[in-house]
Symmetry: C2
Subunit: 220 residues, 2 copies
Amino acid sequence: MASDQTRSAILAAAERLYADRGFGDVTLRDIVAEADVNLAAVNYHFGSKDELIAELFVTRSIATNRERLRELKAAEEQGGGRAPIEVILRALVGPTLRGCLGPENQRSTAARFMIRASIESVPPIRRIKNREIDHLRKFANAMRRALPERSDEEIYWGLHFALAMAHHTIRESERLTKLSDGRCDLDDVDAIIERVVSVAATALTAGKATGKAPARVAVR
Amino acid sequence: MASDQTRSAILAAAERLYADRGFGDVTLRDIVAEADVNLAAVNYHFGSKDELIAELFVTRSIATNRERLRELKAAEEQGGGRAPIEVILRALVGPTLRGCLGPENQRSTAARFMIRASIESVPPIRRIKNREIDHLRKFANAMRRALPERSDEEIYWGLHFALAMAHHTIRESERLTKLSDGRCDLDDVDAIIERVVSVAATALTAGKATGKAPARVAVR
DNA sequence: TTGCAATTCAAACAGTTGTATGAAACTATC
DNA sequence: GATAGTTTCATACAACTGTTTGAATTGCAA
């Protein structure tokens, strides 16, 4: 068998199993059985189990990040170097949400894998996420250009909250469906994106641009 | 040694180790060494490792939930059965945020343990979190009373986003500090609470109360 | 075909894990 | 102080883990 047939058989099998059963209880032996290759092949081709997981996650998140930047760049070029805040936020949360949500029965293996990665967060994945800061900084810069009167602190909180809503929706989509008894439609991804974008944009633009936290409401 | 001295020595040691090193690489042998008790004591007193973790988490989250409900009840009684939305939201996210954030060097073991539980999410903890829906429903009901003109869908999304911002801030506090280069002050818990409450309240009250998602911004 | 490198394979390795056991030590009751 | 019930203890268990090894096989170039 050609070398990279084995390689990609392992990748495919691993992604499928991790997506279905989580990182916690999938062993190398499960993976090689599913891929129908020899046990030693994983270490031969990837070095270690962690590097296999890392490669899976890197591949997927590079794709998402590239799409994010593509949308951001397109928007800024169209606006002559300055895009509306809503469009920036949409470029930030859109690719992730579109990649992970949507009708459950038609979610790709990649989507289910990324949901798992978002929920379980094993060490090799955490290491990679920690290197995402430079990527996020590009969005912070774009947001600064869109809202020059806002303080950096406000910009970062807005970025942070936008990611919070997107990731929490991915992580807890099942619970939200149950809690709302189906009233919140988790299948309409575009509506969810607009909802997140709208709330984040409001948070970033509402109130005076003092750079300070909103005054505390006096009731208690 | 009296029976519950061993029990609580195990609980204390386990919480400390899990808080410091995460669930992934703390074994029963680490715990019993730290607690200076026999290996078999864990299974004798708790039945299994998972039940030990579950007991730790249940204890802490019961405390948080009790505090949440106390604040909610107090607010509703003071308002004659109807509390302002900001106060409800503050009762929802305040106890959690106060329990997990604050100056790093003075965070309790319990706080650090809850942060871990929020990041790593092992099976026994996930099982318990899934049973929290009834608890959250009480807040949904209070929010409905506070905003009777809002649709249920809007209420649930608002509740969901409030939790999203609170939990994501706990999970990613370190990254936000790094990303913002220290501009976002993660030590001022009260300011964070007000920020989350303010954004969530705005999301719940802004715009027409049509019960539909905000209209999509036309730029792209 | 020969030679060499890349790949596959079965098997074993070395270590760790949570749990179970049965005897010993302890504690409280009568 | 004997008895019954708890709790502790050292130890073993059984299973599983990721990784390594060295020989066998394959693929390809000369």
